[in-house]
Amino acid sequence: MKKCNNESKIDDYLLNRMSEDERESFEIHYFTCPVCFKKIVERNELISVIKDKGSIIFKDIQEPRQERKPSIFESITALISPKQWAVAAVSAALILVIAIGFAPNLKKQSPQFFINDDLVRGESITLISPVININSVPDQFTWKSSGKDVEYKIYIYNSHPLWTTTTKNTSITLPEAVQAKMVPGEKYSWQVKSFSPEGTLIAVSRKVQFQITN
């Protein structure tokens, strides 16, 4: 519905809180303003019912006993109209959406990994080789260091765990017995986890898949 600047006068008119001149001027206005007249009728119905049935409608109301002054916060917030609040809320939401959208690009996200069913956050280990399909059985697996005095645990899988070992280096040489189990055409995957000297898991790599294509 359209708005009219004179709408704020409706209560004063209906509650007889206007001077004679103000009243006449407002009456001339609503004779020519359908927006105001419609609202006058609605408000008048509301007031009429309240005046007539107020004792029933408000039977449970306990009048506020203590008068209090508006707090500084309330006074400040009163300066801002509901429309301005709405604009501010929408702007804040937009900023939040943009911030969330760009955040992953600004800072590398900490990885999440699971031990049993517990979610753990930590640094990631970058696997170097092999990370793509290869044409012969790999004899060495290499990854990036994730700190000093770290012990790495390497896992190699086909459909099931195939082999696992630990080392303090950032590469391992695959034993011939294990190499013998790996056949061309099969898909394998591997993963590295690092542990602190106290045995605490501190980083996990992605599980990288490769295929021996030969």
Binding site: R23, E27, T32, E42, V49, I57, I61, K69, E74
Partner: protein, 166 residues
């Protein structure tokens, strides 16, 4: 312009202004006074006659013109009743709802809707309309700034409209 107002347009004018005239008459002389209906009808007949006879020359808006006719007729009525006219007619003390509600059920439904409002909104309607406190007095009682009073009242009415929406 007078000559250009057709019967159809005149019908539209009357349809539009009948409720406004009726409202003004009821507010000025009191809806419980049985005369209001006759007076409103007289004003409407008067408007039709004046427009048809060309007395309305379009110098002011039709709304302002009808207001002037309405106001004069109300003054005449009060003068006839009291024989003394010192000022424009005194406004009537607030009338009973049946004056404005043709349908009693509607008033009942609205009352129930008010009762179902949250305490925050009921409280403001109670202080502002039922207790007839000024905006400033309500603001002081509730500890809110005065401009928040009107905002809250308006919002309460919005909620009522939502509740009563068929």
């Amino acid at each position: 312009m007078i000559g250009s107002i057709t019967d159809i347009e005149l019908d539209e004018i009357i349809t539009k202004y009948r409720p406004i005239i009726t409202f003004k008459v009821k507010k000025s002389i009191g809806g419980q006074t049985p005369d209001w209906e006759d007076i409103a009808n007289e004003i409407i007949t008067n408007v039709i006659d004046k427009v048809k006879s060309g007395e309305f020359r379009g110098e002011s808006s039709i709304g302002t013109y009808i207001f002037t006719i309405t106001k004069r007729r109300i003054i005449d009525h009060i003068r006839g009743k009291s024989k003394i006219l010192r000022h424009a007619p005194e406004v009537d003390p607030f009338p009973q709802p049946h004056v404005y509600f043709e349908n009693k059920e509607k008033a009942e439904t609205l009352a129930n809707a008010i009762e179902s409002l949250k305490p925050k909104y009921k409280e403001i309607l109670y202080l502002y309309y039922y207790k007839d406190l000024s905006r400033e007095e309500v603001a002081q009682k509730l500890g809110i700034p005065p401009n928040r009073v009107s905002e809250r009242v308006n919002y309460a009415q919005k909620l009522l409209k939502k509740i009563l929406k068929p």
